[in-house]
């Protein structure tokens, strides 16, 4: 039956053991990075019209909501937010115990002819984003798809790159990058161990 929801990017908190982790971003750094991403999105899109933010489960969802709040604060108008679950589209379903699926919730306006911004916590192999692009294709036809991530840790296995990055974090393959967000984990922090 379903395994705990760990993403292959190694983003879930480790079990409590002695870990010499190093905090790379604290709560204020995360907030600043998201503010910058929000402004970049607005600048590139020339406003918030037709923008749809889709957070990828698990931690992309609260990130998308935070970016939406920041955009709303700047523009004064609400921006469409949704959540996207890519479990059914993963290429590693077979090699793992059955994963639990999450909810996909699109904003009422749908994604057709919209600028969809995928939001995730860590960009690693790129496989989650590949799955997300396939999932999007089944849900509609956006006029463009962009990718915003809090951390890009490198080691891509597919030709995928992010349009907006909170922090580039060169890492060794064996290292573990953990993103903790207050909505899920009770604290805002990015650490590497």
């Amino acid at each position: 039956m379903p395994a705990p929801d760990d993403s292959p990017a190694g983003t879930s908190p480790d079990p409590p053991s002695e870990r010499p982790d190093r905090t790379v971003l604290d709560a204020r750094d995360i907030s600043r990075a998201l503010t910058r991403i929000s402004h970049e999105l607005l600048e590139r899109n020339k406003g918030a019209t037709d923008l749809v933010l889709l957070g990828l489960h698990t931690r992309g969802v609260p990130l998308a909501r935070r970016i939406a709040e920041k955009i709303t604060a700047v523009e004064g108008a609400p921006v469409a937010v949704g959540e996207l679950d890519v479990t059914m589209y993963r290429d590693d379903l077979r090699s793992q115990p059955t994963r639990r699926a999450h909810k996909t919730a699109l904003p009422s306006g749908g994604i057709d002819e919209k600028i969809v911004v995928l939001v995730d916590d860590v960009l690693f192999s790129g496989r989650t984003i590949r799955a997300a692009l396939d999932a999007l294709a089944d849900l509609g036809r956006p006029s463009a798809v962009r990718l915003a991530v809090l951390v890009d840790r490198g080691h891509r296995e597919l030709p995928i790159r992010a349009d907006h990055v909170g922090k580039n974090l060169p890492s060794a393959l064996a290292e573990r990058v953990s993103v903790r967000l207050s909505e899920v984990d009770g604290v805002d922090e990015v650490s590497i161990s």
């Binding site: 589209y89 639990r100 909810k103 396939d134 509609g140």
Partner: protein
């Protein structure tokens, strides 16, 4: 979980997990592209040795929406009609490299027997008068969506209990989810030994439908299964309706908005009047769409994970 043969195979939290997955699958039904790639490359065979509309077609659609390859084998038109044994038919089909086997058979225990012969994941889609686990899951899921939770809610199951596999699976599923269950049937259609069983399983029995209906939070009508009846269990259809049918008059006994379920196919005018079947609180068609979501969830949980075989 390797097979789904009985509700008993499922831990309570597995039932909740299936419901959660089913809720996601439910959304897929409203999409323009009703397709998920989760079971790409897997093959599911529906083997139906008994007639079926909704169960077979919903397993077929469920498999197809998850991108599995689905084929149907039915007793009529297969080598079974030439005298091939169940074992030979099953082994022949499985020799083609099948990952999932959905089986309905008139003999109780057929699915369990088949699961001992093959490597594929076996789903019991009804074995004789024994069990029909996906029906029980979809009934409980439908009621849970309507009632919020089944904990402490009172469900009345009314009708031909003796011949009903739906009832046997439902008793386990509903009591496991915390519902209080009262079963109602004429004495001739009450399973023998129900006294000891109800005491052990924690459900109540009654012979008086009019006493039970006003207290129920949900009503589940069961089909009178004439094809399984070898003798006379009641004098006439009319008498059954008067004694145990959900008639227009009895509809008025129910609390407002109490959901009415029927696993189908309905004998309109026998166990359920058209007024009840088509009432606003009838969830019969909702059961069908829930059934699809539940079957997608079950196939997903059985077939999507690690390659099976070694643990068999």
């Amino acid at each position: 979980m390797k097979h789904l043969l009985s509700i008993d195979d499922l831990a309570t939290d597995e039932i909740h997990q299936i419901f959660e997955t089913a809720a996601d699958m439910h959304d897929v039904q409203r999409r323009e592209v009703k397709k998920l790639p989760a079971l790409r490359g897997r093959t599911v065979v529906n083997m139906f040795f008994e007639d079926s509309t909704r169960t077979r077609s919903s397993f077929e659609i469920a498999g197809k929406w998850l991108s599995a390859d689905v084929i149907n084998v039915s007793a009529k038109g297969s080598s079974t009609s030439k005298g091939e044994s169940l074992r030979d038919t099953v082994l022949t089909v499985c020799a083609m490299g099948v990952d999932g086997l959905v089986i309905r058979h008139p003999a109780s225990g057929a699915a369990l027997q088949v699961s001992e012969w093959v490597d594929a994941a076996v789903v019991n889609a009804g074995d004789g008068m024994h069990e029909h686990p996906t029906q029980a899951l979809l009934d409980a899921y439908t009621l849970q969506r309507r009632l919020g939770s089944l904990e402490g809610r009172h469900v009345a199951i009314i009708g031909d209990l003796t011949h009903s596999r739906v009832f046997r699976s439902n008793i386990q599923c509903l009591t496991r989810l915390g519902a209080r269950v009262t079963v109602v049937a004429p004495p001739t259609l009450m399973p023998s030994g129900v006294g000891a069983w109800s005491a052990a399983a924690g459900f109540e029995t009654s012979y008086d439908i009019d006493e039970v209906l006003p207290e129920a939070d949900a009503v589940m009508m069961l089909r009178v299964q004439r094809e399984r009846m070898s003798g006379a269990f009641f004098p006439s259809a009319r008498e059954y309706t008067v004694g145990y049918g959900l008639t227009r008059n009895r509809l008025a006994l129910l609390k407002p908005d109490v959901p009415i379920c029927h696993p189908g196919p309905m004998n309109r005018g026998l166990e359920i009047a058209a007024d009840a079947a088509d009432a606003a609180q009838s969830v019969v068609l909702e059961q069908v769409s829930s059934g699809l979501a539940i079957r997608m969830a079950v196939l997903y949980h059985l077939l999507a994970g690690e390659t099976r075989g070694e643990t068999a």
